[in-house]
């Protein structure tokens, strides 16, 4: 008779899984409610989804006190970093839900499944950022991605949307294969470990007979998978087409929530890689080149775009390049400086999430009768027709360009200060030059809104846009607040970052 592991499921485990389980049930409830109470318009489900996202956030914050740092034999981490990431994700999902109010009906894509899938997608992303095990990282990523493939294709009879979904699906499958193969190599190379903590312990006691070559090959493949997901050059080819073809509210969530989740996991994996001393130096060189390429290529291509959605897609590649400066700082330094590197990435992530959700929200507001409002022409003279929307867009564009006082400026300041301290002088100089270039295309939108006459008659929206405008007001206020009073929030980001260090 063999000793069978005794099943153990403590109350601490239950509290740890409660938020994400609640969100999954909300997603199912939204799907079922539509089946039992079908209506022509699905905005009530949007309100329900926003409420359940906020409730999940409240539940996660409330339970954060009573949960231990890890649960379910290390599968799920409830450290401050995952809490920070979960809250960021939930805010991104809720704001994306708000921006879909009205927009989806205007696009003739008002479907109840949208909200259910968005909630399940968010739950998948939550699973991923809370994962303490390679298996859970993969499962979370797949849950999120499969929901996204469908969400991207949600615009009916639209070739761009279908094309975007297919592209995202094929590249996503390719990425998953790389990731899974890498994980298998890491499993073999570390002597049969998938738990992140145990892998770290094996790496630190490197005399334990591990094989660095297999481990390093695995680590490269896993990191590659996540570099694809955060879309840095040269793994960015999918991003502009997918961001353009997807419904704008889905693009908003992909560019913010999904990217934030992928960055948090990337930080965890880079933290593991920094324990491999041989590999660390080479990885730093590679990330240096990727950061420089992402900033420059993203920027130069963004200059030539006439679609605001495409412009924002390329600009998001640039911003991923800026954030890699913080990741590099974390990788190559230790102690307080490493925390500052991670903390600045987290701060920038939140600033970036707010700015992009706002900007995509404005684009969603301008969509009319099945046509996207993402052409630069749509922004001509917007200050006369929609003064408040134009004001919000101007604030967001100033912040994206990194002009004080805004969240974008403070975020860049912390990132580049940490990078300088860690000795990446030339990379920071390049980043500053790129920020200067980016002012041109961000302020072009502001100039079109304020200094040009509107073209043709302004078409009023068929749907009520009060709620979507409120969401816009929230993001712009957040951006300004983070720019004026960054201290408290920075402290929170640094506290969360501290949990990443062993």
């Amino acid at each position: 008779m063999h000793a069978v592991l005794a099943p153990s499921f403590t109350s601490a485990d239950f509290w740890a899984i409660a938020p994400v389980t609640f969100l999954v049930f909300c997603g199912l409830a939204v799907l079922l409610l539509d089946a039992f109470f079908p209506r022509r318009e699905h905005e009530w489900l949007a309100y329900l989804s926003i409420a359940s996202l906020l409730l999940t956030g409240a539940l996660a914050s409330w339970l954060q006190g009573c949960a231990s740092r890890e649960a379910l034999s290390g599968m799920l981490l409830t450290d401050p970093l995952s809490h920070f990431a979960v809250l960021t994700l939930l805010v991104a999902a809720a704001l994306s839900c708000i921006s879909s109010l009205g927009y989806l009906r205007e696009m003739r894509a008002d479907r109840a499944e949208y909200y259910g899938l968005l909630l399940l997608c968010t739950a998948g992303a939550m699973l991923m950022v809370q994962a303490g095990d390679l298996v859970m990282i993969f499962l979370g990523l797949e849950t999120m991605s499969i929901a996204l493939y469908v969400l991207v294709a949600m615009r009916p009879d639209n070739r761009l949307s279908t094309e975007a979904s297919l592209k995202y699906f094929l590249l996503g499958a390719f990425t998953s294969a790389l990731l899974l193969f890498g994980m298998a190599l890491v499993y073999g190379g570390s002597g049969g470990q998938t738990n992140l903590g145990e892998i770290l312990a094996t790496l630190q006691s490197s005399s334990a007979g591990t094989s660095p070559v297999v481990l390093i090959a695995g680590a490269i493949l896993v990191l590659l998978g996540f570099l694809f997901k955060v879309a840095v050059v040269p793994f960015h080819m999918w991003a502009p087409d997918v961001y353009l073809g997807a419904p704008t509210n889905v693009t908003a969530f992909m560019a913010t929530g999904v990217k934030a989740a992928a960055f948090v996991v990337l930080l965890r994996l880079v933290g593991l890689s920094s324990a491999m001393t041989v590999f660390r130096g080479h990885l730093a060189d590679v990330l240096w080149v990727l950061a420089a390429l992402s900033m420059t290529v993203g920027n130069l291509v963004a200059l030539q775009q006439t679609s605001v959605k495409r412009m924002l897609a390329y600009s998001s590649i640039t911003h991923a390049g800026y954030m890699l400066v913080g990741v590099l700082t974390f990788l190559t330094s230790s102690g307080e400086l490493a925390t500052r590197g991670t903390g600045s990435v987290l701060f920038y992530l939140v600033a970036y999430v707010l700015m992009n959700l706002g900007a995509f929200g404005v684009v969603a507001l301008l969509g009319r009768e099945g046509e996207e409002g993402d052409n630069l022409q749509c922004f001509k003279g917007l200050s006369r027709n929609r003064p408040l929307v134009a004001l919000a867009m101007a604030v967001l564009m100033f912040s994206l360009a990194g002009i004080p006082p805004s969240a974008g400026f403070m975020g860049k300041f912390y990132l580049f200060a940490a990078g300088l301290k860690a000795g990446y002088v030339w990379l920071v100089v390049l980043a500053l030059l790129n920020s200067a270039i980016s002012v041109f295309y961000y302020l072009r939108v502001v100039m079109l809104m304020y200094m040009q006459q509107p073209e043709g008659e302004y078409r009023k929206a068929e749907t009520c846009q009060v709620c979507a405008s409120c969401g816009l007001a929230l993001t712009s206020l957040g951006v300004v607040l983070l720019g004026i009073l960054p201290g408290g929030f920075l402290h929170y980001a640094l506290e969360s970052a501290r949990s990443l260090l062993p």
């Binding site: 063999h2 069978v4 592991l5 005794a6 099943p7 153990s8 499921f9 899984i17 999954v24 199912l28 799907l31 379910l72 034999s73 599968m75 799920l76 479907r111 499944e113 259910g116 899938l117 399940l120 997608c121 739950a123 998948g124 699973l127 095990d133 298996v135 859970m136 499962l139 979370g140 797949e142 849950t143 499969i146 929901a147 493939y149 469908v150 294709a153 949600m154 009916p156 009879d157 073999g188 190379g189 570390s190 002597g191 049969g192 334990a208 007979g209 591990t210 094989s211 660095p212 070559v213 297999v214």
Partner: protein, 171 residues
Amino acid sequence: MGAESFFFYLFGVIVLAGALGVVVMSNPVYSAISLVLCFFALAGEYVLLHAHFVAAAQVLVYAGAIMVLFLFVIMLMNPTPADAREAGGSALLGWLLGGLFFAAIFVALITARLPGSLPVRSEVSGYFGSVEQIGAELFTRYLWPFETAGVILLVGIVGVVVLARLHRKEG
């Protein structure tokens, strides 16, 4: 060469040949049959690793159920065999880049000094790989991934239904 490494290489060659066949065959039915071959040989590799349950599941689930579904779908859709000549210049570029990539990996592999042996878990008992052990692991250590896999399947099903109904007229 012992019997174990003989069978390892034998199955390995069949897996590779099957996988290559999936990509190279122009008739999708042949591709599917190649995939079945690949799966069967893979099950053989699992047996060599003492993972008998996984091997049986591989044959039953993949080579059996899933491939039958694949074949059903292929025969229902009745696609015309793909014409390789249509690709033209980009196919040449693909071969060129693929060849370069392969050469780079090959050179890297033969120049890298791989350590003699991978870390080995010493305590592999007869209990290893049994249904009992897999069940115990699934419901203790891997409980959370096991439950999450259910959510993935659900998301997949909902997604398929949404996509299938997407282009149907409302009302």
